[in-house]
Symmetry: C2
Subunit: 406 residues, 2 copies
């Protein structure tokens, strides 16, 4: 190829390992004599149309390794979802800079951007190789066993619920933890991996794959609280009723709580607060606490799955290899080949772009409020090594002296 220039960018919500993919692209590309320049666009596609590029050929390998271990998008990210016109702008800039390989690390919207840009290049007869590199904590890309970023976020959620369960056992009551994932429940379901003993929480898990019925939720919480004296609930921010209306919006209306009518439903504590209020008032349970995990779950420093790190690095590396030795554009996907091992494959962009994967039916229990062993087996290896473990006392009771024995 003539220019030997490549461009890499990061889009969408940051993850704990998205810089591993960046380092994978940059370090692999720099090994090849044909590659003369490795550019990074700042803040995703926005940086491309603004020509806001940095020359990563002038960054040290050592610092790239350190950045790889740092969460969130080192190049910056964007929420822009380019339409055809925006993609044409992108292509114009790539062409002007003589970019021959375009790598975009992101979710299904980013895959769609890559698809449209690739189409533009083909239509213009311009020799561009365009590769989408998967990334999303939501784990909602089709054609993938799982997506880089999800395992580390899942590790955070599992450990958070392991801790919340211990806290709730020490000071009993009802605890509601709200987890990210608007359409796919994978991350919320990961809470189940925080459970060790039979009576540990989360006792109830509510996924966006099932319609949420408030009365059933209250009955579930009541039954668990009566049985165990406490109840830990994991709940997706995306729960909605049968018609698809978000529960937070519905609750705010039902309760005539206008505050949350104006407050953004995601990125706020509204859903947890409103459900806690329902539990308190309708079930007359005194100690009810809600947490919204918010942004902690996607870029907490120091809670990373080593499996996730390795795979995020490899999808970046493979992307460059597919670009240099392959004959087509595509999206790098992860396939599971053993318990536990993976391999990578380049799928057509149209297979992945703009589509949303949700949880397989086999992963959700018949009750709809728990996961199956199939899901536990699916997720456990992704969480990586060194998962902390919780223990409890196995004590012998002491006979009472003053009161009748229990």
């Amino acid at each position: 190829m003539a220019s030997g220039k490549i461009l890499v960018a990061q889009g969408g919500g940051p993850t704990a390992v998205v810089n591993q993919s960046l380092a994978g692209v940059v370090l692999e590309a720099r090994r090849h004599h044909g590659i003369t320049r490795v550019y990074g666009a700042r803040h995703g596609v926005r940086g491309i149309v603004d020509e806001d590029f940095v020359d990563l050929t002038q960054e040290t390998s050592h610092n790239l390794e350190l950045v790889a271990h740092t969460p969130a998008s080192a190049l910056g990210s964007t929420r822009d979802k380019p339409d055809l016109k925006y993609c044409q702008e992108i292509f114009k800039v790539l062409q002007a800079h003589g970019i021959e390989h375009f790598f975009y690390i992101g979710g299904n919207d980013s895959a769609d951007t890559v698809r449209i840009v690739a189409d533009e290049a083909r239509a213009a007869g311009y020799p561009l190789r365009s590769i989408h590199i998967p990334k999303t904590i939501d784990n909602d890309l089709v054609g993938n066993d799982h997506t880089p970023g999800f395992p580390s976020a899942a590790r955070f959620v599992a450990l958070a619920f392991a801790g919340a369960n211990l806290d709730n056992a020490a000071l009993p009551g009802v605890y509601v933890g709200v987890v990210m994932g608007r359409h796919a429940g994978f991350l919320t379901a990961a809470s189940a991996l925080g459970k060790k003993f039979d009576d540990d929480g989360p006792h109830l898990i509510y996924l966006p794959e099932r319609a949420f019925v408030l009365e059933r939720f209250l009955a579930d919480v009541k039954a668990t609280h009566e049985r165990l004296g406490r109840c830990v609930v994991a709940l997706s921010e995306g729960i909605h009723d049968g018609s698809g209306t978000p529960i937070a919006a519905q609750l705010a209306k039902d309760l005539e709580h206008d505050a949350h009518g104006n407050v953004q439903l995601s990125g706020s504590g509204a859903l947890a607060d409103l459900l806690c209020e329902e539990v308190k008032t309708k079930l007359k349970i005194k100690r009810v606490r809600g947490d919204t995990f918010g942004y902690l779950q996607r870029s907490f420093v120091g809670c990373v799955s080593d499996v996730d790190q390795r795979e995020a690095r490899e999808v970046g590396e493979k992307a460059v290899q597919y670009a240099l030795w392959g004959e087509r554009d595509g999206s790098v996907t992860i396939e599971r080949t053993g318990f536990y091992s993976v391999d990578y494959r380049l799928r057509a962009l149209a297979e992945v772009a703009g589509k949303t994967r949700t949880m397989d039916a086999a992963f959700v229990s018949a009750s709809g409020t728990d996961v199956t062993d199939a899901f536990r087996l699916y997720l456990r290896p992704l969480l990586g090594s060194g998962m902390p473990d919780a223990y409890r006392l196995r004590p012998a009771p002491v006979p009472r002296v003053l009161r009748p024995q229990p």
Copy 2:
């Protein structure tokens, strides 16, 4: 002593290392031939008056070690704050079971309980040795350099803000993280240890030691946002105006948002949401996100300071040693003796009981919205070893081709 029976209990909010102190008491006590039984009361003082005891002499050392590494109170905790009558009930039970040493792991309320129980025993001429063992993530016990539980919670907060800062740099806007600590700002101030580069967040820190003025807050956020294009705020749940009225209550009223008038101010996302709403509407900033760290910060599994673990173990061990070789009741306190080392001391219960320590003036910057280097030096060794670190690209800009250079 005649019976050789000791009783240990845990009170108040759980921490990541409170079971280290429990293990310290139990394992040290079991080494002594004079000790015939080590009882644990379930759910603190509540379990004492209910005679809900377990015999920890019948638990293996191995499992006690595993429990020591598990967050939250393994014996269970309570929010009960005993008055004189309650303490008399406690004493009656201790006497009935022939308990000769009473250890209570908790905060300043727990110290006060120990003080009253010790007074009752003395007045009755009953030979009880009563020792308070410090524990609180709030770090608000007087007479202590710091308290077990605080360093691990501080580590969580520092790492959470390091991540939130990276996330906010990737997708710029305003981020408000609300941290526990009703009266003392230590834990909120710990957010400053998540900062590495000069322009890293948290850019503004609001402590309960300073009166919060909404207009000043908005002006601070505006100035930071104009300077950096983003702003990360760390804010204590306990912030209040000059008259001591909690800001959350005030905001809910100002905004005529009745939702949060009924919602508990702590343990909910209300404060973060209401402040984000203010920033959005008054400053016309579009991307504004709030997180309330909630219960994650006190019992997250896998975010523990090794220094905290060691010290929490030692205060339990020392408590038994003071009880067996000392001549008086008291509260075990931590004193700093080097950079970094500590020693322990048994202080009179009245010195610690029922008092609240807040941040020294020397720890808060003149602006009131940052900490000083004195605080950074104070806190850094407590966070322990293996603190993850964040790195960034140091990139060379690429000249534009289509547009004028910036």
